[in-house]
């Protein structure tokens, strides 16, 4: 099964092709998309199992040996990210059955989602910098399509912000690629590790690293480049926003982790110190921004930003423990955040609005939904024994070990403020009595199992992650070890025979 690392990319692409032939037939499209997603999940699991056995799995595309050809590399981090992508993809596809209206299906929701999944997996698996750029572009075009599909003109202005800032990010990225190629003569990431360390013009190399940091920082919504995210995510259909919230900014975080552990480690005093400050400000501004919002998805959008801060903090501290924390955080956060966006869709479905001012009483009318909200919400805030607690604990412990006491205090404080936001949603949407105007026209639509099922399944994943944290942390420690000492990765890419 040499082709295995390419399958998580090829399968959604094939599904996208098949789906674009369906001409917007709703039921059939949903069936194919869901079957494709389940198959994708199976392949991703197989890939992770193979990686667990062989440490690093490499596919040299077209048998062009690295560093000349493009290679797909699955190490621990890549494999687990692909698996999580597949889990979120499957949940979102099941949820989409009643969430996506016929117009959106007709304008290409299913093919776009499949292409987006393929591109996200491609970005996680590629071992070549230019190839990463291409996957980012595929991701962009697919997300643009999802952003503006349907007939909702209100989506356009949010879309313009998203599109323009992301185009700027790709320009920074391609500029950095040009400079890196000029400096080292290679774009293979494993090859870059040694060649970047040998570059004489270190000032230019650091400047290039900063260019890349800005490019990925825009994708990951880091301070001060995050304004596009809360301006556009709440205008999307719920299933699309769940996938965006779970995966897209995390692709930026993944790219940051990959580049700033494998390639740019020679000038930590500048690059990682900058990341440290940026991460702290990102956490703070995200959580403070959320405090003033009353629209459920906008609150959640601001929390994406503050949570990304934790992950980047783990990278910036650059110790094995901190990276372990960052990886655990990634795993935990993607599941929780996608789930919370799906829940917001259910709240809208039963309560009639995303705005917390106009809804209420959902605890009385829909107990299962309350359970589906409270588990990811408390995990996000970091209540033990849920997954978020362990992730935050690891990050704070890493801060203390690196003697960054103020950052440890900040991490804990941001956690507290997250509790505040989650309790705000809980008390407004679930606990307070239903406001009078909604009582006049009661919207008590029952929830379809197609919508409740994914939410409860993802909640179950969160609970299981929290209860079986030991193996997850063990796994993340190995993954962090591979990142801190990339010799295994490099030997697998450069030394092997096809």
């Amino acid at each position: 099964m040499r082709i295995l690392p390419a399958l998580p990319i090829l399968l959604p692409m094939a599904a996208a092709l098949a789906l674009s032939l369906m001409m917007g037939h709703q039921r059939r499209s949903h069936g194919i998309a869901l079957a494709g997603a389940v198959l994708h999940l199976a392949v991703a699991t197989l890939l992770l199992a193979t990686v667990l056995k062989h440490e690093v799995v490499v596919l040299w595309v077209g048998d062009w040996l690295a560093p000349f050809g493009i290679c797909l590399v699955a190490d621990y981090l890549s494999a687990v990210m692909v698996l999580i992508t597949a889990i979120i993809h499957t949940a979102v596809m099941a949820y989409a059955r009643y969430d996506i209206d016929p117009v959106q299906v007709h304008t290409g929701f299913y093919p776009f989602m499949q292409m987006l999944t393929a591109a996200v997996c491609g970005a996680f698996l590629t071992g070549d910098l230019f190839n990463l750029y291409v996957w980012f572009e595929v991701m962009l075009i697919a997300s643009f399509g999802l952003l503006v599909m349907g007939r909702n003109p209100g989506r356009l202005t949010g879309g313009v912000k998203y599109v323009t800032i992301n185009l700027i990010a790709t320009l920074f990225f391609i500029t950095a690629i040009g400079l890196i190629y000029g400096l080292t003569g290679t774009l293979n990431m494993a090859d870059l590790h040694a060649k970047a360390a040998g570059v004489e013009n270190t000032a230019l190399l650091t400047a290039t690293a900063m260019l890349l940091m800005v490019a990925f920082g825009i994708k990951a919504a880091l301070f001060p480049l995050f304004f596009w995210l809360p301006a556009s995510y709440h205008t999307l259909p719920v299933s699309v926003s769940a996938f965006f919230a779970g995966m897209l900014s995390k692709v930026g975080v993944y790219a940051l982790i990959r580049m700033f552990t494998l390639v740019f480690t020679s000038n930590i005093g500048v690059t990682h110190a900058t990341l440290l400050v940026v991460a702290a400000l990102t956490m703070l501004f995200g959580v403070v921004g959320a405090a003033s919002q009353m629209e459920m998805r906008r609150i959640l959008s601001f929390h994406i930003i503050s949570q990304v801060g934790y992950m980047v903090l783990g990278l910036a501290l650059f110790t094995p423990l901190a990276l372990t924390g960052a990886i655990v955080y990634l795993i935990h956060h993607i599941v929780v955040k996608a789930n919370l966006f799906l829940v917001s869709g259910l709240v809208r479905h039963t309560g009639g609005s995303f705005s917390l001012k106009t809804i209420g009483g959902l605890y009385k009318t829909n107990g299962l939904l309350a359970v589906g909200f409270i588990i990811p919400a408390f995990a996000l805030a970091g209540f033990p024994p849920l997954s978020g607690f362990w992730a935050k604990l690891l990050i704070i412990k890493a801060c203390l070990e690196s003697q960054q006491y103020s950052l440890a205090v900040l991490s804990a404080a941001v956690g507290l403020l997250t509790v505040f936001s989650m309790i705000k949603i809980w008390s407004e949407a679930f606990w307070k009595p239903t406001p009078a105007e909604v009582n006049g026209s009661p919207i008590r639509r029952p929830l379809s199992p197609w919508m409740l099922g994914p939410v409860l399944s993802l909640s179950l994943v969160t609970v299981l992650l929290g209860l079986c944290m030991e193996p997850v942390i063990q796994f993340s420690m190995v993954a962090a070890g591979q990142l801190m000492d990339p010799q295994v990765y490099i030997r697998a890419v450069l030394g092997g025979q096809p």
């Binding site: 291409v134 313009v160 700027i168």
Partner: protein, 135 residues
Amino acid sequence: MEALLACLIGLMFAAALYLILSGSLVKFVFGFTLIGNAVNLLIFTAGRLHHVQPSLIPPDRTGLTHAVSNALPQALILTAIVIGFAMVTFVLVLLLRTYAHTGTLDVDEASFLNEAGEDEPEPAGQDQTVRRGPS
């Protein structure tokens, strides 16, 4: 030759940044096209402009009989051009539809500053006039 190209690329970047930051989305598209071409030139220059470094044949082997220029940056640029073209086309259509909806492409106008969700009440009118400033 390198110095000349470097100056040209710098000029193109400066002009493009001016256009991108001007606040009008039409100018943004022109700036985006210009900066895309500047980046392509940058990759081209980064691949060295003389005929000594083939990227595919290792130094100890004989493959090509004569010196050729580096083909890799050209392949990279070709990819970037195609992607850039698709992006520009998409942005133009997006802006066209946005213009049909908002009647303006000036990003300082209220329709771009308002970030309310679909079922949030529109912010009060006075709020928007305050944000719009002296105009």
